[in-house]
């Protein structure tokens, strides 16, 4: 019963997160008034980008990759992209989801620990590879995820999560540069 209450509380938190930060990219890029007109011209794209954030970080049907794992992996990828503000956003999502010390360590870039299970070990390896060096990914890397117990839908879910965060980090990095000359 107690466990059930915890689940309900965290679901309410997720619902709030889905409703909040409608302009995450603008907020994190620090895009000031100099870019307001430009961003307004691309409002549809920014809105769809926020919807994509919700679809990969806070999906209604997360499958075998939980919300809390998604937030931790996203924070790790934001840090790999040298984006401290984006990493902090994802650590906040992680805190709201009920972080564990192990997941917080992964979020902050730590390697797998001795007691990390094979599934999470394979996921972290793949997240790092596809974030840092997607060109080196091969068929064997997908086979390794399957061998570690990920279903095919979960392999696609993981790919979309990795792909999205890497997209978002680049939009924010570009907007910061553009904002500086605006």
């Amino acid at each position: 019963m107690k466990h059930r209450l915890v689940v309900i509380a965290s679901q309410a938190a997720w619902e709030r997160m889905r409703m909040s930060s409608p302009h995450l990219i603008e907020t994190l890029s620090g895009a000031g008034s100099g870019l307001a007109g430009v961003l307004a011209e691309r409002a549809e794209i920014l809105g769809l980008s926020q919807a994509a954030h919700d679809a990969v970080l806070l999906p209604l049907a997360p499958g075998g990759i939980s919300h809390v794992e998604r937030a931790a992996l996203a924070a790790r990828m934001a840090s790999a992209n040298a984006d401290a503000a984006l990493a902090e956003h994802y650590r906040e999502l992680l805190r709201q989801a009920g972080e564990s010390p192990a997941l917080l360590a992964f979020a902050e870039g730590a390697g797998p620990a001795a007691d990390t299970d094979a599934r999470l070990r394979a996921i972290i390896r793949h997240v790092d590879l596809v974030t840092l060096s997607p060109r080196d990914t091969t068929k064997a890397d997908i086979a390794a995820l399957a061998a570690a117990g990920l279903s095919e839908p979960d392999i696609v879910r993981l790919a979309e999560l990795i792909a999205f965060v890497n997209y978002q980090a680049r939009v924010i990095a570009g907007l910061r540069l553009l904002g500086a000359i605006a």
């Binding site: 870019l35 430009v38 961003l39 011209e41 691309r42 549809e44 794209i45 769809l48 980008s49 919807a51 994509a52 679809a55 990969v56 999906p59 209604l60 049907a61 499958g63 790999a80 992209n81 040298a82 984006d83 596809v130 974030t131 840092l132 060096s133 997607p134 060109r135 990914t137 068929k139 890397d141 997908i142 086979a143 095919e152 839908p153 392999i155 696609v156 879910r157 790919a159 979309e160 990795i162 792909a163 999205f164 890497n166 997209y167 978002q168 980090a169 680049r170 939009v171 990095a173 570009g174 907007l175 540069l177 553009l178 500086a180 000359i181 605006a182």
Partner: protein, 191 residues
């Protein structure tokens, strides 16, 4: 017997997935809905059927991709394709590079630029305007991004408006996404 294509080419190969695509006849209503957003709704590609394993993402991704690459105004279509191609070179997504390089060629009615890029990769020497676009998109595609204030200033000096620069940021960034799906979930083949 099909063979894997490892070299950059402007002849679009077939994409062969590493995971089993969703079987159209067995797709859930949510998967069918997510797949309908694509331009071709009669013949669904293996790529879209593969992404249908995650319908929540697919439903948003397709309109976002189309708005960035084919939206009205701002940066020209050819220059968006050049940004997409630069990202695909960095990430070595041979399939994405083929699709978008061939679109660039069709739009510009010229093949020299792509020939130079495929031959020399990130060291390609292009005319000034295309060079600035290519270099910026390539630098933004690294992890972490290597794009700097000078790269943006160069684009502005060459006359790109802020909206055009934003469109270039978006077209390179969306291939930071697309390459990480296409190149990791399958491979380009010739039958």
């Amino acid at each position: 017997m099909s063979t894997v294509v490892h070299e950059f080419t402007d002849k679009v190969p077939r994409w062969s997935p590493y995971v089993t695509p969703v079987v159209l006849a067995e797709a859930t209503p949510e998967q069918l809905d997510a797949m309908q957003v694509t331009p071709s709704n009669k013949k669904i590609s293996d790529y879209v059927l593969t992404l249908a394993h995650d319908p929540e993402s697919l439903k948003v991704r397709s309109p976002l991709f189309n708005a960035i690459m084919y939206g009205k105004g701002g940066l020209s279509s050819a220059e968006r394709e050049l940004g997409a191609t630069a990202a695909s070179i960095v990430n070595r997504c041979v399939y994405c590079a083929a699709v978008h390089a061939s679109r660039f060629n069709a739009l510009t009615k010229c093949t020299d630029v792509i020939e130079e890029i495929f031959a020399r990769g990130l060291d390609a020497e292009l005319e000034e305007h295309q060079q600035a676009i290519f270099d910026f998109a390539a630098k933004l595609s690294k992890t972490p991004s290597e794009a700097a204030a000078d790269d943006i200033a160069k684009l502005a000096d060459l006359g790109l408006s802020k909206v055009e620069i934003l469109d270039l940021i978006l077209s390179a960034a969306i291939f930071g996404w697309a390459n990480r799906l296409m190149h990791t979930l399958g491979e380009p083949v010739r039958d």
